[in-house]
């Protein structure tokens, strides 16, 4: 029988402009603590939809002796503030704070694990703090954040609601122009500011070579027999890396809660091996 998982510890972490909600999945008591991981969630509705997978992965890692910290970024989930006031720099600092907290807690090597846009945020922070980090786990990193944002903004066009003030825009370019003029844009219930959208637009994963620390790229695909999507293939070439593909549902976008046990297993296997290696085991 599987040992009963300990309940995660919820708490608020003090940060700039208010508190951040965190959940700490402590390493199981019956095993040596191998290290820790901070989870970096994807954007907007993708964060909500992947919440279950994040919780299950964190629980599975904790069972293997890895402490996992989930943090809601500023203006997201249960953290302070509104998304309309969020910035990429504040989010980077939030992940930094989470790393500091986890390092003090586990006294063992710590890494980052990010999904989709969160993988790019994790990558940026890892490039800034490579010396502090022991590993980087990326799930379906966005190859082209600008294309991703374009798709997100199209929701607004599809809804035909117009911007918060002014007449309905009829193209994504017009929406971006409104954002540049300092207007807030409401997309699918999320209020976006121009600076945040510009930051995300400017993220080119192909131009962000991973830092020199153990990195594993897991790509969830519908059919492992098919070639990689063009964006992922470009990214693989730019990084000279081959992702490990896992077959399963794109749980960050399905209307019902879906999970992918194979992804959890593959992640656990790599994290455990990498941390054991770091300990010279």
């Amino acid at each position: 029988m599987k040992p009963l998982a300990a309940a995660p510890l919820p708490f608020y972490l003090s940060a700039a402009h208010g508190e951040r909600l965190c959940l700490y999945h402590a390493p199981a008591a019956h095993r040596p603590c191998l290290g820790g991981l901070v989870y970096v969630a994807p954007f907007a509705e993708e964060m909500n939809r992947s919440r279950r997978m994040a919780a299950l992965q964190a629980q599975a890692l904790a069972q293997q002796g890895v402490g996992v910290l989930l943090i809601d970024l500023y203006g997201c989930g249960d953290s302070a503030g509104e998304l309309a006031e969020a910035s990429w720099a504040v989010w980077r600092d939030d992940i930094g704070l989470a790393i500091d907290w986890l390092q003090q807690r586990v006294h063992a090597p710590v890494g980052l694990w990010g999904l989709r846009l969160g993988a790019l945020l994790a990558l940026e922070v890892a490039r800034l703090r490579a010396a502090d980090l022991a590993l980087l786990l990326l799930w379906n990193p966005l190859a082209d954040a600008q294309a991703y944002m374009t798709q997100f903004l199209r929701l607004q066009l599809a809804a035909g609601l117009g911007s918060a003030c002014g007449q309905p825009a009829n193209s994504v370019a017009a929406l971006r122009a409104q954002l540049q003029q300092g207007q807030l844009l409401e997309v699918g219930g999320y209020e976006l500011n121009g600076a945040l959208v510009a930051s995300i637009d400017g993220l080119q994963a192909t131009a962000l070579p991973p830092p020199g620390l153990p990195l594993h790229w897991l790509e969830l695909v519908r059919d492992a027999a098919l070639p990689l999507a063009p964006g992922s293939a470009r990214l693989a070439q730019a990084w000279s890396l081959t992702p490990q593909t896992v077959t399963g549902p794109a749980f960050w976008s399905t209307p019902e809660v879906t999970t992918c046990p194979a992804l959890i297993e593959a992640s656990c296997a790599w994290v455990r091996t990498t941390l054991e290696h770091a300990h010279g085991l």
Binding site: P8, L23, R51, D78, A164, G188, Y190
Partner: protein
């Protein structure tokens, strides 16, 4: 805004449920009026923050206006332990959350169950059996049966389509696929006409019986641009028991004609919050 937030993990049959308490800044013990707390029950696949954070933002709105709010993940959802059971299997979760809320704030004057979609249906199914529940806010309640869905689709979707300039443009330009459309219409007709299985367990009937057993005040909020809300409203056919319930003096019905199922604009969310607050302040004693 004057609110505070606290984590509020709950224990439910040996499993931890993740909860967040949002409180007015002024301690309740100092308040001169006795107010109920609010337990928010999320719907469908959502976790406690909700689509576009609607529950986080609504809870802050209610707390800033003086109400204590608890939101939580049902078992097997979000950050809660255990296996998901669906909205008809969350009685124990609601029970534990009511315990947790009243332990955290013993000065509360009972609790209002606030539910969206199948969270509203869960509230209805639970309320009459629990003396701690003073009132309910039901937002776009889920009462779906296959026939009801097809009827709502026929009535609301096809009517809107027939008066849509887009459809007539398509027909005039010869882009309208009449065969496919007719086939779809006939399919909906057949489903709408199918007799309901002759069991008393049909969801609308169980919800109606639960509504009748519960004697307290109910605020019903229905979005105009939401098929789930249309299906629910369509239950109140002339002369039906649903009609009697919706016309009863303890029921307040508010229609928000522009809003969609999850109130996905700031304006709609604020309309929803204001409608709730106007009604909630009348519950004070």
């Amino acid at each position: 805004m004057a609110y505070e937030e606290r984590v509020c993990p709950l224990q439910c049959q040996g499993q931890q449920l993740m909860g967040i308490l949002t409180l007015p800044e002024t301690a309740l013990s100092q308040a001169t009026v006795r107010r109920p707390g609010i337990l928010m029950l999320v719907g469908g696949a959502q976790y406690r923050a909700g689509s576009h954070r609607q529950f986080t933002l609504l809870a802050r709105h209610f707390a800033a206006a003086g109400f204590t709010v608890l939101r939580m993940d049902f078992r097997g959802m979000g950050d809660s332990q255990g296996e998901a059971a669906g909205f008809e299997g969350v009685a124990a979760d609601i029970d534990c959350a009511l315990d947790g809320l009243l332990q955290a704030q013993p000065g509360l004057d009972g609790v209002v169950l606030w539910g969206l979609c199948d969270g509203a249906s869960a509230a209805l199914l639970h309320a009459s059996a629990d003396a701690r529940v003073r009132a309910m806010v039901l937002v776009n309640p889920w009462a779906r049966t296959e026939a009801g869905q097809a009827q709502a689709y026929l009535k609301h979707y096809y009517r809107a389509r027939l008066t849509s300039p887009d459809l007539w443009n398509k027909i005039l330009r010869g882009q309208f696929n009449a065969v496919a459309a007719l086939r779809s219409l006939l399919g909906q007709w057949r489903r709408a006409a199918s007799p309901p299985a002759a069991t008393p367990e049909l969801l609308p009937i169980r919800l109606q019986q639960a509504y009748e057993r519960f004697r307290g005040p109910v605020l019903l909020i229905l979005s105009g641009a939401d098929l789930t809300a249309r299906e629910f409203a369509d239950l109140a056919t002339p002369g039906s028991r649903w009609e009697a319930l919706l016309l009863a003096s303890r029921t307040t019905r508010i229609d928000l004609p522009e809003a969609n199922h999850t109130f996905s604009t700031r304006l709609w969310r604020e309309q929803l919050a204001q409608a709730c607050l106007r009604w909630l302040t009348r519950l004070e004693r």
